[in-house]
């Protein structure tokens, strides 16, 4: 059995690289991503929810259309409303983001990873890039499908949007981006917490529980603080019309900046901990 061991030993050693190319780290992280079922299932759930839940909500809107007031009909945003499923899909993407790093800790794979790539920042960066690209592409496809399905449903009541209309393409691109940035935020939280259940809890608290708590604060604090919370900022990216009562929300670009800020903060704090702590 040992015969194969020493094959081309000198050859291997003579090809020492003086640096470790980032593309190798990317390739390695891509292999990790695609070789566990949790990645596949999380994406299936997230994209399925985006399409199916959005369609169900569109049907519900159509069924109750006659009960809407005229002003409600005028302010109705058929683009954003056809993509409502992304709010729930975000949870599946968040779980995936946490798992990408927490599963390495729970299984012990992280030590093999760092033995192969001692530059931990490089590992986290490659992980984030692979995850972001795959999430963005798959979510963009499901968002486009959900948009098409939704507009088809809305034709029953004579409303609808098309991609050519102002702001519509932006909302579609931003909706996929909302899911992607949320996933990166979860990856950062997972890196910080290093624990699957803890990371998912942190993500749910930040995205869903915290808005409820802040919303219970006396006005104007509730809206002054509330609009800067991660989920509110993220959803602000996805509106064609600033519809929510009195322009409470940030604008799309403001929302993008704030949501990116949250994700960057989590990744930087998590990444710092990754580098300084023992693996």
């Amino acid at each position: 059995m040992e015969a194969t061991l020493a094959t081309n030993r000198n050859q291997t050693n003579s090809t020492f690289h003086t640096s470790q190319p980032f593309t190798n780290t990317l390739q390695s992280e891509l292999t990790k991503f695609r070789s566990v079922k949790s990645s596949f299932w999380s994406l299936i759930v997230a994209n399925g929810v985006t399409i199916v839940l959005s369609a169900i909500i569109c049907e519900a809107v159509v069924n109750r259309w006659n009960k809407r007031s005229l002003s409600e009909r005028i302010l109705f945003d058929p683009t954003t409303r056809s993509l409502t499923g992304i709010v729930l899909a975000q949870l599946a993407i968040g779980v995936l983001g946490v798992l990408l790093i927490s599963a390495e800790y729970s299984s012990g794979t992280i030590r093999a990873t760092f033995a192969a790539t001692p530059n931990r920042t490089k590992v986290l960066t490659a992980k984030a890039v692979v995850f972001a690209v795959i999430t963005y592409i798959t979510c963009l496809i499901s968002v486009l499908i959900a948009f098409g399905v939704g507009q088809a449903i809305f034709t029953q009541v004579g409303v609808g949007a098309s991609i050519g209309q102002p702001g519509v393409l932006r909302v579609i691109l931003m909706s996929a981006l909302y899911l992607t940035i949320g996933g990166l935020f979860a990856l950062g939280l997972g890196t910080l917490v290093r624990h699957t259940a803890g990371g998912i809890t942190a993500f749910v608290v930040m995205m869903l529980v915290l808005p409820g708590i802040v919303g219970a604060l006396p006005s104007p604090w509730s809206s002054d603080i509330g609009r800067y919370l991660p989920n509110a900022a993220g959803l602000a990216m996805t509106s064609v019309i600033k519809q929510h009562a009195g322009g409470d929300m940030l604008g799309p670009l403001g929302g993008l900046a704030v949501f990116c800020g949250w994700a960057a903060l989590a990744l930087v704090v998590g990444g710092t901990r990754l580098v300084t702590r023992d693996a």
Binding site: M1, T4, R9, R111, A112
Partner: protein, 313 residues
């Protein structure tokens, strides 16, 4: 070449590694011995750049691990037999490691063949037995054809055939001029495999020496004699100037005398002997003597348990 210099590392108030220094040279199998909690795994993790030391350093070819580009080409390690994702196949586990260091994918097939896991390469590693997990860990260590290999308890969970395989593997790696550093708590196994030992206790270095030199430090060298007339013999031996201690089951342990001297004395006095042999110190007995004060978690009366066990051979 691995150099550990004045390494210290604490976890809270526990000093896991306390000012430890030693070197591991190429071309030898160096055993890393010590009781549980002696700091062996921590030291190995610091060498691998996984844990940060409080002070001191661990160098590989003069560099800290973290400064080595594509380290799998230089260092391979089995630190934790189950350090893989249960849902990932053995092949993919090795593939992502190979890719990170620019190692061609065919090398993955080669090492799977070497460790005998080719037939289960595409199966989820979570279904593997402990022994198969060890083999996967060893495959990962061999992946980059490294000059330096670290193995933390590599034979845990292996069957006799697997143990023999690991023993031969370690020896053949060393004979090729590689540096092989292997921790174990199985003394008899280390006695057969290692050329050199680094012995630690409570985070401190106790000794670092060629294995024969280490064993020769043991005081456990004496003549064992068994006789139905043990009391008479004891008196005679003491008169002749030997140091005599009572052993179990009508035996005496005699120092300062050879087997020949004891036998001749008995013959001259017509004393029947049932047994007469020279007790050689073993790696285990030398280790027990030297680490006695350094075992963190003593079982009560562990001394009574361990030394009689030696006498079976």
């Amino acid at each position: 070449m691995i150099e550990v210099r004045n390494l210290s590392k604490s976890f809270g108030s526990t000093k896991a590694v306390d000012n430890m220094s030693f070197e591991v040279s190429p071309g030898t199998v160096t055993g890393f011995l010590g009781p549980n909690g002696a700091g062996k795994s921590t030291t190995m993790r610091v060498i691998m750049g996984l844990d940060h030391p409080d002070s001191g350093q661990a160098l590989i070819f003069g560099k800290p691990y973290s400064k080595i580009a594509n380290p799998l080409h230089q260092v391979g390690a089995l630190l934790d037999a189950r350090a893989f994702h249960g849902g990932r196949s053995a092949y993919n586990h090795l593939l992502f490691l190979a890719q990170a260091n620019g190692i061609p994918a065919r090398r993955v097939d080669e090492v799977l063949e070497t460790v005998g896991l080719s037939s289960v390469a595409k199966k989820r590693a979570g279904t593997f037995s402990m022994g198969m997990g060890q083999r996967l860990g060893i495959a990962a260590a061999l992946l980059g054809n490294p000059e330096i290999l670290l193995f933390d308890e590599p034979i845990n969970g292996l069957d006799p055939e697997g143990i023999l395989w690991v023993r031969n593997l370690l020896k053949s790696l060393a004979s090729e001029g590689r540096t092989v550093f292997v921790s174990s708590h199985l003394m008899s196994e280390m006695a057969q495999t290692a050329d050199y030992v680094v012995v630690v206790g409570r985070g401190r270095l106790i000794d670092s020496a060629p294995i024969s030199q280490f064993i020769s430090k043991s005081a456990q060298r004496y003549v064992v004699v068994r006789s139905p007339a043990i009391d008479t013999l004891e008196g005679l031996l003491k008169q002749s100037g030997a140091d005599v201690a009572q052993g179990p089951d009508n035996t005496l342990e005699v120092t300062n005398a050879t087997c020949a001297q004891v036998g001749e004395l008995a013959g001259a006095n017509s004393i029947v002997l049932h047994e007469l042999y020279f007790h050689e110190p073993t790696l285990e007995s030398a280790y027990m003597e030297l680490t006695q004060d350094d075992v963190e978690f003593h079982a009560k009366s562990s001394n009574d348990m361990t030394f009689p066990a030696d006498k079976r051979n």
